[in-house]
């Protein structure tokens, strides 16, 4: 019988073999390919993250890179496309947005067994709760401003000039209705039982969906946990698999969502009103509070659907963490709906 260590070695061996095949496919003249320190990190709910150093020789000479492999987990919270993330990362190269350089993609898992992406391993630390951690308030506030500046840098990307219109698709209609359509389809795909609360909120969102005044690049899961930090500097924004073109208020609604305030806000110093004021100062956009509240509700609803995806995957035997029906999100959604009425 294989031990845990033997099984881990076997999996690591398969990943190393797949990586070598992928490099040879991408660079036919590559030889002497070596990977060192190939290890899977504990983080990542939707994907396996593997870090490693790679060296090889090819017709251009010797290469040495610190790399990261992101491979879809067998069961995952988000059904996403590697190509979308690859295209966005390529488009962001040379822009004001800090993001890792992307190397190769295995979109259908031909080499690595599951859709995968290989990108530069940027130095830095990932901390979901950095805004409410042990750092002094001054540092946390500086970081909060830096995160917001990054969000506005993403929104300032000239997506047309960088070719993202063709790769991500320009919304043909209201971004809020399109987002609802996409996430309702996911909801219907994964729901295992009736959820009157989610149907009720969905019906309200359909009736009250706001119009967008601009179309910008939306990250789709903007949070400190998707960034690397050194000191008070963000070294990279990660996890672009849900990026799309949409309403500027979508990412702003995600970070002002009251149920995620411990990740995004600092009590008394960096709350919804402070964030909106700073956002308006940085972008010149006046934020419609009712529309922003709609996006707050949408953020909660989307989060609920992501959790139902996990429930479905767990029940199907494809996901190794237990999630529950997200009842804890129902009350805040209903309260926000009432406030927006």
């Amino acid at each position: 019988m294989a031990t845990d260590a033997q099984e881990t070695d076997a999996i690591t061996g398969h990943v190393a073999d797949g990586l070598a095949q992928l490099v040879r496919h991408a660079i036919p003249s590559a030889r002497d390919i070596q990977f060192t320190g190939l290890t899977r990190s504990a983080g990542g709910l939707s994907r396996e993250n593997w870090s490693f150093d790679a060296t090889w020789n090819d017709d251009c000479g010797f290469h040495m890179h610190r790399l990261m492999l992101m491979r879809d987990a067998s069961g995952t919270l988000l059904k996403t496309e590697r190509r979308r993330e690859f295209d966005v990362l390529r488009a962001l190269e040379g822009s004001a947005v800090v993001a890792p350089a992307v190397f190769w993609m295995d979109p259908d898992g031909q080499f690595l067994g599951a859709p995968s992406l290989i990108m530069e391993r940027v130095s830095g630390h990932c901390d979901y709760m950095v805004l409410n951690g042990a750092r002094p308030l001054e540092e946390r506030l500086e970081l909060a401003h830096t995160f917001l500046r990054l969000l506005t840098d993403i929104q300032a990307i000239d997506w047309q000039a960088r070719g993202l219109g063709s790769s991500l698709g320009v919304p043909a209609g209201s971004p809020s209705q399109i987002a609802l359509g996409e996430w309702e389809a996911e909801y219907r795909r994964v729901q295992l039982e009736a959820h009157p609360e989610l149907d009720y909120v969905l019906a309200w969102m359909r009736r009250t969906a706001p119009q967008a005044h601009e179309i910008v690049l939306v990250h789709g899961d903007f949070k400190p946990g998707n960034a690397l930090i050194e000191g008070t500097r963000i070294t990279a924004k990660l996890d672009w698999e849900t990026a799309h073109l949409g309403d500027p208020l979508e990412d702003l609604g995600w970070i002002t969502n009251p149920v995620r305030r411990r990740e995004h806000q600092i009590p008394g110093h960096w709350e919804r009103a402070h964030i909106v004021e700073a956002y308006t100062r940085l972008t010149g956009r006046v934020v419609d509070d009712t529309a922003l509240t709609w996006w707050n509700v949408f953020s909660c609803w989307k989060l609920a659907v992501i959790q139902l995806t996990a429930v479905n995957e767990f029940v199907s035997g494809r996901y190794n963490r237990v999630f529950q029906t997200p009842s804890w999100l129902f009350r805040p959604m209903l309260q926000m709906m009432e406030r927006a009425a």
Binding site: D4, T8, R40, S41, A42, G43, L45, N49, S51, M68, R121, V122, S123, G124, H125, C126, D127, Y128, M129, E193, A194, H195, P196, E197, D199, Y200, L202, A203, G225, L228, L238, Q307, N320, R321, V322, F323, Q324, T325, P326, S327, W328, F330, R331, L334, M337, E338
Partner: protein
């Protein structure tokens, strides 16, 4: 009946924590194990409350549907009538309570989205949903390790 279900579940948690977990060195597997143990503890605590919750929810949902009945299309109202008339036989059995809960919640999902509901009915729906959410025994257990180093 000893060990009771609760004793067995708690004992399993203890053994996983004290015997198995220290031997799991691989970080990813350890994270998974820690989450499973935390969830098992939550289930152990929540399990005794499930039958009472289902009884309360079935009664409250049925009462709300009765209040909404006159504002709903005839087909849906007829389905609510049918649910009302269904004999609540052997409602002490957990599976029967669960099946009735599934039926009533499916009716509520349809009824609550009706565009012609009065403000009072909307208020009643929201009050019910908030009350129910506060009573659900099974709770999401957050990830054991929310922070990680990716460098």
């Amino acid at each position: 009946m000893r060990p009771s279900v609760e004793e067995q579940l708690l004992g399993t948690c203890r053994i996983l924590e004290t015997v198995v977990a220290p031997a799991v060195a691989e970080p990813f597997a350890r994270t998974i194990l820690d989450n499973l143990i935390a969830n098992l503890r939550m289930v152990t605590e929540a399990l005794p409350a499930v039958p009472g919750f289902l009884r309360w929810d079935n009664a409250a949902t049925l009462s709300l549907l009765q209040d909404m009945r006159s504002a709903l299309p005839s087909g849906l109202a007829a389905n609510i009538d049918a649910a009302l008339e269904t004999a609540e036989n052997d409602m002490l059995e957990s599976a029967a309570q669960t099946a009735r809960n599934d039926l009533l919640r499916a009716l509520l999902a349809e009824a609550a989205c009706n565009p012609d509901l009065s403000p009072d009915l909307h208020r009643a729906i929201q009050d019910h949903m908030i009350a129910r959410a506060s009573r659900v025994p099974m709770r999401y257990v957050p990830s054991a390790t929310p922070s990680s180093t990716r460098s």
